[in-house]
Symmetry: C2
Subunit: 152 residues, 2 copies
């Protein structure tokens, strides 16, 4: 695992995380805390719902994507501050036992106008399951540190 500055990444570069498996207990625990709807909480009601079975909260899936982003191959010195997210979608439900993997692509890079020590990266995050189906996708702007002058 290496740490990056703004200046170290190129538009078009892609980074792929390790896989991560969501189990039934974690799906239910997240829902009990943050998304108390029956289709995220118990199998009986979930079977009757549009999901046709227990499904992870979309916000749980998004949080898992962030876990894979912050523990994966693309890490930034001083961290990456999310400024905003667009077009957050959940095309396929995440089920207990699914193993997901995050791919991050650098869509754009520009210096920050307000903070000359930082740059803004436009990234696209796509989470896929073990069958190659996209379960979550979004684009985001993240503020990261520029390499200090005189370092390499």
């Amino acid at each position: 695992m290496s740490t990056h500055y703004f200046d170290d990444v190129q538009v078009g570069e892609r980074f792929t995380s390790a896989p991560y498996t969501l189990d039934r207990e974690s799906i239910i625990a997240f829902a009990q805390q943050f998304d108390v709807q029956a289709f995220h909480l118990e199998h009986a009601a979930a079977n009757e719902s549009v999901f046709g079975g227990l499904a992870a909260s979309g916000w749980h899936t998004a949080a898992v994507a962030m876990r894979l982003f912050t523990t994966g191959p693309l890490q930034f010195v001083g961290g990456a501050v999310g400024l905003g997210v667009d077009e957050l979608r959940w095309p396929v439900a995440v089920r207990a036992g699914d193993s997901v993997r995050l791919e991050t692509e650098i869509l754009g890079a520009r210096p920050s106008q307000s903070k000359p020590t930082h740059g803004i990266l436009r990234i696209r995050n796509v989470l896929t399951n073990q069958n190659g189906e996209v379960v979550l996708s979004y684009s985001a702007n993240a503020m990261v540190q520029r390499r200090p002058n005189g370092t390499a």
Copy 2:
């Protein structure tokens, strides 16, 4: 707390949740599981960061908004299935001890083309802190059940 069908809400209606307080322990616990960046984990590193102190993960804030949505005054028979979220923003950081409140506005309503038993609501969710500052906002499409024929 009442439960709603698609047909029960009007465009322009607003619903306000109870307040919810985020404490230091929950901010750190969420970050340890899902967003392992120093400014969400420990005060010393957070003080040196662009946040100038410990700040909740934006995905934690979003999960809290969902908690307030699913436990608040606007609940739907059979639940609300999130189809997508746009323009997710975090204009002000959430700090330990902050008390937040969710306001949901109905922006639009249309029958589902693929599922005649359901409708699609366009909603705007805005989370504000105890000082009235917006800490999170987004627009979303949610699929909810239509009132069955012959019921009132």
